[in-house]
Amino acid sequence: ARDFEKKASKLLQEEPENPKCFAGGRKDFTCFWEEDEERAGSLDQYSFTYNYQNENSSRCPLRIVPAAGGKRLFVCHLNRTQMFVQMDIQVHREEMLIHNRSLFIELVFLLDPPGNVTVSSTGQQGQLSVGWVPPPLKYMEDSMMYEVIYAPVDRHVGQVEVARASSELILRGLQSGTKYKVQVRVKLDGMSYNGYWSAWSDPVFMET
């Protein structure tokens, strides 16, 4: 639930379309939209229907999640999905079509940040080695890309390095005897799969 809130607030900032949707895994697809508390109707006034190309439409049951600033999120969750085929989504309030969107589920991944981030010395001056565990998604490890952000703890602006289909990276050209803060995030690479950048992992601190 805490995870959903984080991802929802990220999409509320980044995604202009409605409903906002993301795949958290291969069998984990969520859509939602936001309503003002005063203007929102009751759950049974809304319907969320979707269909894949050449198929009949289905209904996704909705639930309400209260959100910051007196808002309500109307949320639909599916644990069975079809990828690589267009999905057409329609949201009605009573008889009125209020949202309408087409998407490919495999293009809207929003993963959890990489886990177990470790930072260690390489033995060479001015270098640190960063490692992490990719999110467990069969078939997709080769399609993941990562950003590693790092900065001396007393400074605000970090530098970013990119890694592709790898779970380690060596940071070079660091100041010696300095404590660095390191974080990692993940995204699908845009070829077979695509999506949003995950949140940054919790920071790890290490002295060069």
Partner: protein
């Protein structure tokens, strides 16, 4: 085939990018770029529960049938399109499909020739426009072809 196994997915990514270029070129084409009759194309949709219930042979045959259907469909499109810029995209796409077949051979995936007639083939759709066909082409490469290659047995052995 004496080929070393091609496990590097950048090769497929390269073909996917070229397939996208063909799709974009088709979308912006105004004249001499229509499909004369509708064609049979493979379904691109993947439900992982269904896909994983199939064994490796069934998965391979599904992909090979799809590649074969796309070859037939693109060859037909080649004859009905008169726009020369598109000819080069279509020719290139057909050659890339042949290369993908060669990549599958390099992975020791047993060659499968589908029945001569597409009539009654399971898991197919009809595409009635050139843009639909090229969209199916991209989605098939991104989806089922990528899944088959990324899970190929021949590429799992380097885990030491």
């Amino acid at each position: 085939s004496p080929l070393r196994p091609i496990c590097d997915l950048r090769v497929l990514n390269h073909f996917i990018k070229e397939a996208r270029d063909a799709e974009v070129a088709m979308k912006s084409c105004r004249e001499g770029c229509s499909l004369s009759e509708s064609v049979t194309v493979p379904q691109t949709t993947v439900d992982f529960d269904v896909w994983e219930k199939k064994n490796a042979l069934e998965q391979a045959q599904e992909v090979q049938t799809g590649l074969w259907l796309l070859q037939q469909a693109l060859s037909l499109l080649r004859t009905s399109v008169t726009n020369t810029a598109l000819h080069s995209h279509i020719d290139n796409s057909i050659r890339n499909l042949l290369s993908i077949n060669a990549v599958l051979r390099s992975l020791n995936i047993q060659e499968y020739t589908p029945p001569a007639s597409a009539v009654g083939l399971e898991g197919t759709w009809r595409a009635s426009s050139a843009t639909d066909l090229l969209q199916v082409h991209v989605n098939f490469l991104r989806g089922k072809v990528h899944l088959l290659l990324s899970d190929a047995q021949a590429c799992q052995q380097d885990v030491s």
